[in-house]
């Protein structure tokens, strides 16, 4: 019997765990180690953040699902990896620290044959002064990164709407809280859902809404932009986003690195090196992501974290980390199997793998401050990679070390994304986008690096319906209900 440990139970880790157990059956052991007791369909946190869904609608308890799936579940956080075992034992193991009620702080060593790192990111609020401490959200802004954060954001937003209704002019600032953030799409969804709700509440004319982002242009979305349809014609997502912002009367600041957050005020630096301040009554700023801080040790107890993890804390995989300057970037820089180059029984998926470089064109201010989106590894690619990694591990277990590894390169993968811009059965809207490939392949598609026939998007009511249907479908799938494998990642 082999033992597979999956660190993390988010979209990627949960996908990997459920498929691995399905394929391995009872002959092998699958263990999930995650500090969370609830599974969260993160894309719908946006609707929690504007009071259109409850926390309970976007989460469910993991324990019963894993019990049904016969997956061993440890509500604990992974602390360290020991791939060569310890002095008196060669068996690889990880150490975990329980977060479950009644066992908080207890530690345990768990031996493994295969390890999948799907921890997701550390929400690095501490990277920006005043945005928070470490991974904890600060007092001046809100977040929609977790269901709890979103619930809190909803309550704060209610207060803003109440003040606006009482005739007090309010200012809302939404975007990214650092020059190296990713997940602009989530902030994009949130700002337009706020705008939509403000209109519904009849307070839109009393609220100024402003966007601030590290994107070099509106519509970059961390992917270097894409083609969208505006008024029936194909144009760059720059024009699409600009039209949308203008149409909804949302002002914007782009190419911004938020350097400091205070009560009701932020400080930022722009791509031209100039600095500025922006006041707010309510602000949701996405934090930058970092690795969760896992450590790695060799047999003698020496720290080998730098061997396994990149400096940003994400796990090294089969990517080309020495691609160099932008003009040298290639599709082949991106990982295919997500296997750690040093330890072949170790994989990473979802946000936990270290990308070779960003996707958008790198930018920095004349002061040397990098201001560009980091690559998105969430949503559809995250699930696809999780499944591919699980497939590889299952084949290694059942067919032996010579088994061919499964591949899921983001440079050969298409992805669909539906970004809500307002919830409502008849008046909701969402931008439905497909991108192929996610990472531009400049050799295969000279010019934009993408197949323009399949890199396209449009905004409309149908997009909202798709988003709402996906909410129910993916929660159904994650609950491992009958037919769950038929629902694609």
């Amino acid at each position: 019997m082999s033992r597979l440990i999956i660190m993390g139970g988010g979209v990627s880790g949960h996908t990997a765990a459920t498929f691995a157990k399905k394929w391995l059956g009872d002959k092998h052991e699958v263990i999930v180690v995650t500090p969370n007791s609830q599974w969260n369909w993160i894309p719908s946190n946006i609707w929690v953040g504007v009071g259109q869904m409850t926390k309970e609608q976007v989460t469910f308890p993991l324990a019963p699902v894993y019990k049904k799936a016969k997956i061993d579940y440890k509500q604990a956080k992974a602390v360290s990896i020991h791939p060569n075992g310890k002095a008196d034992n060669d068996d690889a193991y990880i150490t975990i620290e329980y977060t479950e009620d009644g066992k908080v702080g207890q530690t345990e060593e768990l031996g493994y044959d295969y390890l999948i790192n799907a921890t997701g990111p550390k929400l690095n609020f501490g990277a920006t002064e005043g945005l928070g401490e470490g991974s904890n959200l600060g007092e001046h802004t809100v977040s929609v990164c977790t269901a709890d954060h979103a619930e809190h954001a909803s309550h704060e937003l209610e207060k803003i709407f109440a003040k606006a209704k009482a005739g007090e002019r309010q200012k809302i600032l939404v975007g990214t809280g650092h020059g190296m953030c990713t997940c602009q799409g989530a902030a994009f969804e949130y700002i337009f859902n706020i705008e939509h709700e403000a209109k519904k509440a009849g307070v839109r004319d009393m609220i100024d809404i402003k966007w601030i982002s590290n994107e070099a242009f509106l519509g970059d979305f961390g992917m270097g932009g894409l083609h969208m349809k505006v008024g029936g014609y194909a144009v760059s997502s720059k024009l699409f986003a600009e039209s949308l912002f203008a149409e909804r009367n949302v002002d914007w600041i782009i190419g911004a690195h938020v350097s400091k957050v205070e009560a009701g005020n932020i400080h930022y630096e722009l791509l031209d090196g100039s600095t500025g301040e922006e006041s707010f009554d309510f602000s949701m700023l996405i934090p930058p992501f970092a690795g969760v801080g896992l450590k790695a040790y060799d047999k003698a107890g020496e720290d080998i974290t730098a061997t396994i993890f990149a400096p940003n804390g994400f796990m090294k995989v089969d990517a080309n980390y020495s691609a160099g300057a932008y003009e040298n970037w290639k599709a082949s820089d991106w990982p295919r199997t997500y296997q750690n180059p040093t330890f072949s029984n170790m994989f990473a998926c979802g946000i936990a793998f270290a990308p070779p470089h960003i996707i958008s064109k790198p930018m920095s201010s004349p002061n040397g401050t990098p201001i560009n989106p980091t690559p998105p590894r969430t949503g559809m690619p995250s699930g696809i990679i999780g499944k591919a990694v699980a497939h590889s591990v299952c084949d290694l277990i059942t067919k032996g070390d010579s088994a061919k590894l499964h591949e899921a390169s983001m440079a050969e993968m298409g992805a669909a994304c539906v970004a809500s811009s307002g919830k409502g059965v008849f008046n909701g809207t969402a931008a439905a986008m497909t991108v192929y490939p996610v990472v531009p392949d400049f050799e295969k598609y000279p010019g934009t690096g993408r197949d323009t026939d399949y890199t396209f998007g449009e905004i409309g009511l149908a997009g909202h319906w798709i988003k709402h249907i996906l909410h129910h479908l993916f929660i159904y799938k994650a609950k491992v209900k009958p037919g769950w494998t038929l629902i694609p990642e």
């Binding site: 070099a216 242009f217 270097g224 932009g225 083609h227 349809k229 505006v230 008024g231 029936g232 014609y233 194909a234 144009v235 760059s236 720059k238 024009l239 039209s243 782009i254 190419g255 722009l270 791509l271 031209d272 100039s274 932008y326 003009e327 970037w329 064109k361 930018m363 004349p366 669909a416 439905a432 986008m433 497909t434 400049f442 010019g447 934009t448 690096g449 323009t452 026939d453 399949y454 396209f456 998007g457 449009e458 409309g460 009511l461 149908a462 997009g463 319906w465 798709i466």
Partner: protein, 268 residues
């Protein structure tokens, strides 16, 4: 080499907004072509997209006769609004009143790949914005308000479909099926209303017609569902929403049909 400037009604390429990654001889050749074409046509500026290149390159002829090479430009700051009357090479002999920023600051790279900034205002600012629109696969038409756009479109000799680069057409053949379905619904509703004013002996005839109409709607919906998907595949870049739209339309019509069926059930 002087290149041909793409003009309406030539459909523009879907390949646009490509960052320049290699500052090599190919780029230098493109820049020279742009300069030659500007000189030959006595233009103030030209974007690479206007001569069929997807690369983000703009060449501006300055007042002293020298050329400014703007590569990978992005607008980093903007200020104020103006409504200039613009002309552009893509639409010869046509003009329109657009909405532009009064001042823009752009960040770009020069031919030596050095990051540069340029603060612009007045006519120059409008010119730069117009050229950037081309790099993004568009033209000044996108900067017109609805009223001005309608007026402008009415002046286009070949209509707006000529601007459409293999995207979704504005009308589909499948819409004709929807028109027949709509007509059938109207007839059914008229039948229901009429049933309140006619003799009981004539009710079975109306009921029969109603049944045939409902059956026709069902058959047409099935045909619509499959044909719409077939037609959608002819325009693969239409959008990912096509299936959603088709399913949505069918669901809406089925809901109407159920209401119609219930009304018929209780009336006849």
């Amino acid at each position: 080499m002087i290149q041909k400037i793409i003009q309406y009604p030539t459909v523009t390429s879907k390949e646009f907004d490509a960052n320049v990654r290699h500052f090599d001889d190919t780029l230098k050749s493109l820049i020279q072509d742009l300069k030659d074409t500007i000189e030959a046509n006595s233009l103030k500026a030209l974007s690479a997209f206007q001569i069929g290149s997807p690369l983000a390159v703009i060449i501006v002829k300055q007042e002293d006769g020298s050329f400014l090479e703007i590569i990978n430009p992005i607008i980093v700051k903007r200020e104020g609004k103006v409504h200039p009357l613009e002309t552009t090479a893509y639409f010869p002999n046509l003009s329109a009143t657009t909405t532009r920023y009064e001042k823009v600051k752009i960040m770009y790279e020069d031919i030596n790949q050095k990051q540069q900034f340029l603060q612009t205002d007045g006519e120059f600012s409008i010119l730069i914005q117009r050229k950037i629109d081309y790099l993004l696969g568009s033209n000044f038409r996108i900067r017109l308000d609805d009223k001005e756009q309608k007026l402008f479109d009415s002046k286009l000799e070949y209509g707006t479909d000529a601007l459409n680069n293999d995207n979704c057409p504005t009308t589909f053949k499948r819409d004709k099926i929807l028109a027949v379905i709509k007509f059938s619904f109207i007839l059914s509703i008229i039948g229901i209303i009429v049933s309140f004013f006619i003799a009981d002996s004539q009710l079975p005839l109306i009921a029969s017609i109603e049944n045939y109409l409902m059956l026709t709607i069902v058959v047409l919906l099935v045909i619509y569902f499959f044909y719409a998907q077939y037609e959608g595949k002819q325009y693969k870049n239409c959008s990912s929403c096509q299936i959603g739209n088709i399913v949505g339309v069918v669901i809406i019509h089925l809901t109407k049909l159920i209401v119609l069926f219930i009304a018929n059930y209780f009336i006849f």
